[in-house]
Symmetry: C2
Subunit: 353 residues, 2 copies
């Protein structure tokens, strides 16, 4: 029996108390804090123009304590239901959820391994060093964790087209989830300096791909104009649903560490959606009592694409210092990171760098 056929238990076959949570959430502006039920097409605050994030007051419902969450998340590892097999939706109590479980577009993303790295540990002099292998996602990158959530909401909202600007990973991921969900996808690709192997994935999945004579930031600007004029859903990382899915990277990491927070989490930073998502997850896990202290969250950038580094050093994190990006690491070749304010906020909140 599909979960949606059970009145009042819309999203969980297990019938646990957690499943009675209503799938309601709001968007909150990260600038002025205003709450709104609708993020429109541009995911920006109608008052101040800043980015929106998902906020979910239902966490604070009485049934949701840390021990209950840990236990239900563990139990789901033995389940064969598609939602539980996903390393994202397994943690659905901390995610916005669609009306019905059948709306979810999943390719069994997440569930990526955490490796202890003894050789790197010896060389760096760090006593315990771990790496989380995000390449073990369906399309080969961490983008899948966010894409399953954002693509689900795109389809639930009735969109037939989704689109992104991309240097590679995002387009591969978006095209896969769009194909899985029966939607069409449009990829805007900058001129040169992109990952051809990643782009060929997007082409394989049937994405309509346009290469433009501009860089990533130019593609993103054009996309934002496009989504105002046509019924196309934007799946770049300013889409707050993507960040919600990417939060599960951090939740899964903490579960793998038996909920003992590490001293420090270090992530590479491009458009800064991932660091923002991980930071948001850490703050939420602390609030829920899933962890007892915050790890530092730090972001590494290439010297030639160090907008966040300069934003923090030269402007104290108060305004974006854009750069003309130049690095061989195509996935972080971004000079004007969309989520810079979210990233500054979480770096400062966790004491990272």
């Amino acid at each position: 029996m599909p979960p949606s056929a059970t009145p009042g238990r819309k999203f969980d076959k297990q019938g646990s108390p957690l499943s009675r949570r209503k799938a309601t959430f709001l968007f909150r502006c990260i600038g002025c804090g205003v709450l709104t039920p609708d993020a429109a097409q541009h995911f920006r605050c109608s008052q101040c123009g800043n980015l929106l994030e998902v906020t979910d007051p239902s966490w604070k419902s009485p049934g949701l304590n840390a021990d209950a969450l840990k236990s239900i998340w563990l139990e789901r590892r033995c389940s064969n239901s598609p939602l539980d097999l996903s390393g994202v939706w397994r943690f659905r109590e901390l995610l916005p959820t669609p009306e019905s479980a059948e709306q979810v577009i999943s390719l069994r993303e997440g569930n990526t391994p955490l490796y202890e790295l003894p050789q790197a540990s010896r060389r760096t002099g760090v006593s315990r060093l771990y790496g989380k292998h995000q390449g073990m996602n369906p399309t080969g990158s961490f983008k899948d964790a966010g894409m399953t959530v954002a693509a689900t909401f795109a389809r639930e909202a009735g969109y037939r087209w989704v689109a992104c600007a991309s240097t590679g990973n995002t387009s591969a991921s978006m095209a896969a989830y769009a194909a899985r969900g029966g939607m069409c996808s449009l990829v805007l690709v900058p001129d040169g300096k992109i990952s051809w192997s990643k782009l060929s994935q997007a082409l394989d999945y049937g994405a309509l791909t346009c290469q433009l004579r501009t860089d990533f930031d130019g593609c993103l600007r054009l996309l934002q104009e496009l989504v105002q004029r046509a019924p196309v859903y934007q799946l770049n990382s300013i889409n707050p649903f993507r960040l919600e899915g990417q939060k599960t990277l951090a939740i899964e990491l903490l579960e793998q560490l038996n909920w003992r927070a590490p001293d420090h989490i270090i992530v590479p930073g491009g458009n800064l959606g991932n660091s923002s998502a991980i930071g948001k997850a850490l703050l939420e896990m602390l609030e829920l009592g899933l962890i007892s202290r915050l790890p530092k969250l730090s972001v590494i950038q290439a010297e030639g694409a160090n907008a966040l580094v300069r934003t923090l050093r030269e402007a104290g994190g108060k305004q974006l210092v854009s750069v003309q990006p130049e690095t061989r690491a195509t996935a972080i070749r971004i000079g004007n990171p969309a989520s810079w304010e979210k990233a500054v906020k979480v770096i400062q909140a966790t004491g990272g760098a």
Copy 2:
């Protein structure tokens, strides 16, 4: 407490009855059937020269019934021990096991998703069609499932060097497991027509790589001479430990299908190690009562590298019909498949094609 510190329970933290199984196994010649405890360096029968396979009489011990196995394998999905997190070692009752669990070199291989493929299903007219995404392995291919077992036994036997001939996937996998296990690795690469992105993985993991003016089959011949003269352990698919690990692809598949055997399993065939391994697993699962009937196992080859197809059609599977291989699918560009007899055996046993 490490498992090896518990006398009589060498390989399982759970302390279940299954863990008392002794890690003993023999090799059986697939030609003359002779049993031997030692496979030497060439993995061939000292009597008739045919390939060896691992045989494990301990399956037939009284504690090992199908229901107990299914239940312990399911329980392990909730465990965080490295062995249980591996989609290969989780099924260790059907594998040869080293003396101590600490000897295992694992990168959390296996655990790959099974996708229902509705679009391909509609186009082909097959009512239910599934694909198992073996790319979601640590180095991106199914080779990892076998490599964790073979690399473990290489190190346990005291080897400091491992080697393979490879068109790509095997070298990437071998180099990763060798690096993880603190061993050196040597890759013999044919001239052209190989996967550069795969080879660059091997180089990243520190493999010594030699390109030879010959094809894959020539590299394999040279390797077999080399291992007779130097203390180098051969990790090509004639290594029977690799096939043991690859058996778990089929075991995991059947678990994902709730132990209901599908009508047909179709795999691509190059050196034919994978089809041999899957076939061996199917026969063993039937013998143990894990499944009640055999699915057909069929092998697909490229038209330009169809040695097995011709072996079955032109020689009735009785002798190998070699071909001069030519296909853009580099991973199956093999004209003289080492495991052809094993593959013929399982195709005929399951009624495949």
